[in-house]
Subunit: 502 residues, 2 copies
């Protein structure tokens, strides 16, 4: 093959923001397009200096770009450190061999560790389009991965990122499978468990399909974007942390896949297990308590679903030497009052500060799970965990520890409240007999959560409550009037509460 | 709900070509982004006058756009008929309720006709992102649709577009399942069958995952973008047509799905059957012959696969009153010499003109299939079809009819040849024992087919041939030197020929 000198183009910033999608803009008559036969939407490799990435090609005519100029989307320019006039090299993207394995999976075949590692490495390297990731996720969902495949996927995900090691025999962690709006027990549990002397370097994700993840909620209270060194310092000082996992490069392919899962609003057992366990193994945990809310509109809808999930989770965890305890909790209705990052943070603060109006259900769940985790990690005798957790919370020790953790992460702040609010009213009087978590979550998301931290829902009624016609069932909070209207219209058309006439 | 007046923005053309993906560009501080809470990559509804579409939002700062301006990608501007200064209204995209059914399918549930109709209507209306379409396709592939679902999908696909009716008892059609490069029998069969007095208004697709579709090949010979009226006139005059189906709005959702299938390089039984039968039913066919090449590297790889496909195809066809005959042909190696639109057109012309160097295998297959189709439609007695077809071809009647059809469509032209060529040589002497269709197709695509009509491969050796070291096995044709290099590098790394030393 003849030596091959790609044409060089000069970078011109146009400032187009495509979020995380990398796009390169070229003139249709630029020499590279001609020589390489590129057309719009082609996937190309872009190099500036020593950095490369794969981008989608869009074509832009004069006067925005001349034939020897190239522009990049904001994310791509940032990742390549592009500055005006930099030499940009554009070549064909290397053939994505790992897509063969995705196609095999789509066609129902079992794929092996090497194939999974190839896919996950390319996903973590941002070489897949969202379309390709979506195809991979859909092909693996619905019980279409066997145990070996889930183990292989988990191993591949751990291998693409950082792996933390703590010089402790027991490192506690907890996770909630989600699907239950407002179930924000983690900050409370971390405070209690750390106060009991255990190490719990908690890393959390942002929301996937929910109106808020723990990282979103904690971000309204303190800084959560910590690097590995900052995380170590916080944990050494307080025994705990409440950080955003995304900043630590733990299982980075998970974050890319989560982006697509969020857009599609899907998740699956296999992906869920690989996502949780790869993050926990990479974070150096030894003992993980997993809260699984079960209810007709929660993520896990039946005992049978739970048993299937638990059995697969335990077998995969065992392959990585992780001790996992799964706890089935009630998933019939939201926990606490707030749904959305800031509204949930207010609930967390009320419980930690033992305020009179603190939501009793959130307090109760946090104590229950803290007690089980203390016992699971050997920090309390069997049957005594919950009492110990209660003492730690009620003496103010947990609140003090929570403040220390936030101080170590950069300081505690109290979040604000939304500009626009509107009540959704009971259409008739009677007893609340059903609550649809999914519709509430959907409404909170349409109202802007978690993008706008103060957006979401404040619950005003619970299962079993008696309400009169016109009583508020919940209040929508939004930061933009258009979003308030949109969420309200959805809530009217899709009632989340069933109220039976007495 | 309060009456709601969305802010109006003025259209400013920026001329950004994103191929078929609709993108709207707004200033981050534009009033709509603030009021509606839009951020980059949001899906929004765009209206100009009476036309609307759904687009993805990209944000662009000054000086390209001011806060009260909006720009659109070339495809979106075209579809909305946007002119500079036009008032652009941007609102939240309506919630895509049909994605619930996609999620159900991803999770392994059976979905019903109404759910499938919802999905297909939204896909045809370009309301799905490519990511969402990819998830739907992957969820349905690998045998995950039952018979009722394939029927429902087919019915929904027919229902979203035009449906042609011909005032004839028998309307012939043929289709090739594909996967066999160079297998371009259709133009020859249409000429023979029409010359025998049958009606065959053939509409063809462009390539999905192959280096050329029949429409791509025919487009190098004549105009194939006909509207319904033009198609009728051509068929009335000649009894036949060789048109591109995409221009006729037959089963339009199929074209959208094919775009994503092409990018992912996947297809599935369910999608294949729904794609073929929806197009044939919408085109008004009554008798369809389907050529299914079977071979280790063809699309259908075994007799078992074929039987499964045939059984499902027959049952779905019966639901629409279509008569289908499936013919199993040899799929061990490419047919003819050319792979790629123009190179295949040259083979077709050579057979029709009865030239001495015409590829014998292409001629033989075209006669076999023409004979079977004549018998299937009652235009020849059982066992006599092939002889009749041979007479029509060898007397020049088929060539005359082919010219008439092309003349009626706008005139016959002969395609050119590629600028850049390079031979791929036998690494050793011996006998050709294997040919990998997939690698040849991949090489032809990397060389630029079907985007560049003259790009592709010219075969120089066949199964069973004796070759010496350094003999050419095939020649890569390309329109750009970068593509020639790229295809050549792939061909060297992925040998398509197995040559056993004698």
């Amino acid at each position: 093959m003849l030596p091959y000198f790609p044409a060089m183009l000069a970078f011109k910033p146009l400032g187009i923001d495509t979020w995380q999608e990398h796009v390169i803009y070229l003139h249709p008559d630029c020499p590279v397009c001609g020589a390489e036969g590129f057309s719009a939407q082609a996937r190309v490799q872009v190099r500036i200096g020593a950095r490369t990435l794969i981008a989608t090609l869009n074509l832009v005519g004069s006067p925005l770009l001349h034939t020897h100029q190239a522009s990049l989307s904001a994310s791509a320019a940032g990742e390549l450190g592009a500055r005006e006039g930099d030499a940009v090299e554009v070549t064909h993207a290397p053939a994505l061999e790992s897509m063969r394995a995705v196609r095999a999976k789509i066609h129902g075949l079992v794929i092996d560790d090497a194939q999974l590692a190839g896919i996950v490495t390319d996903i973590a390297g941002e070489r897949y389009t969202e379309m390709q990731i979506a195809a991979f996720l859909a092909a693996c969902a619905g019980g279409r991965m066997n145990e070996q495949e889930v183990i292989g996927l988990t191993r591949a995900m751990i291998g693409t990122g950082e792996q933390l090691r703590w010089d402790r025999e027991v490192v506690a962690d907890k996770h909630c499978v989600g699907g239950l709006p407002g179930n924000r027990t983690t900050p409370i549990i971390v405070a209690i468990v750390a106060a009991a002397g255990l190490t719990i370097p908690k890393t959390s994700s942002r929301a996937i399909t929910s109106p808020a993840g723990t990282a979103d909620t904690m971000e309204t209270l303190t800084r959560v974007t910590l690097d590995v060194h900052e995380l170590r310092r916080v944990v050494e000082r307080t025994g705990a942390a409440l950080a955003w996992g995304g900043a630590l490069n733990l299982s980075p392919s998970d974050d890319v896949m989560i982006r697509v899962e969020r857009a599609l609003d899907i998740d699956s057992d296999a992906q869920l297990i690989a996502s949780i366990l790869s993050k926990k193994a990479a974070a150096g945990a030894t003992h993980v308590l997993i809260d699984v809310p079960v209810g007709p509109t929660a993520k896990v809808r039946s005992e049978a679903d739970l048993l299937r999930l638990e059995s697969l989770m335990q077998r995969v965890a065992a392959a990585f030497g992780l001790h996992v305890m799964m706890v089935h909790t009630d998933g019939a209705q939201p926990v606490g009052r707030g749904i959305g990052p800031a509204l949930e943070a207010h609930d967390v603060l009320a419980v930690l500060r033992r305020e009179a109006h603190a939501p009793a259900d959130l307090r109760h769940r946090a104590l229950l799970l803290s007690g089980l985790l203390l016992e699971f990690c050997g920090a309390a005798k069997t049957g005594e965990g919950q009492t110990k957790a209660e003492q730690i919370l009620d003496t103010g020790v947990a609140w003090a520890r929570f403040q220390s953790v936030c101080e170590a992460q950069g300081g505690l702040t109290v979040p604000g409240e939304a500009l626009f609010r509107r009540d959704v009213l009971a259409p008739n009087g009677g007893t609340v007999t059903t609550v649809d978590n999914r519709r509430l979550a959907r409404t909170a998301k349409l109202a802007g959560a978690p993008r706008h931290p103060v957006a979401g829902i404040a619950m005003r009624a619970r299962l079993g409550d008696s309400v009169s016609e016109g009583d508020p069932l919940f209040t929508i909070h939004a930061q933009a009037s258009g979003e308030l209207d949109y969420a309200f219209a959805y809530a009217l058309a899709n009632p989340a509460f069933g109220v039976r006439c007495n």
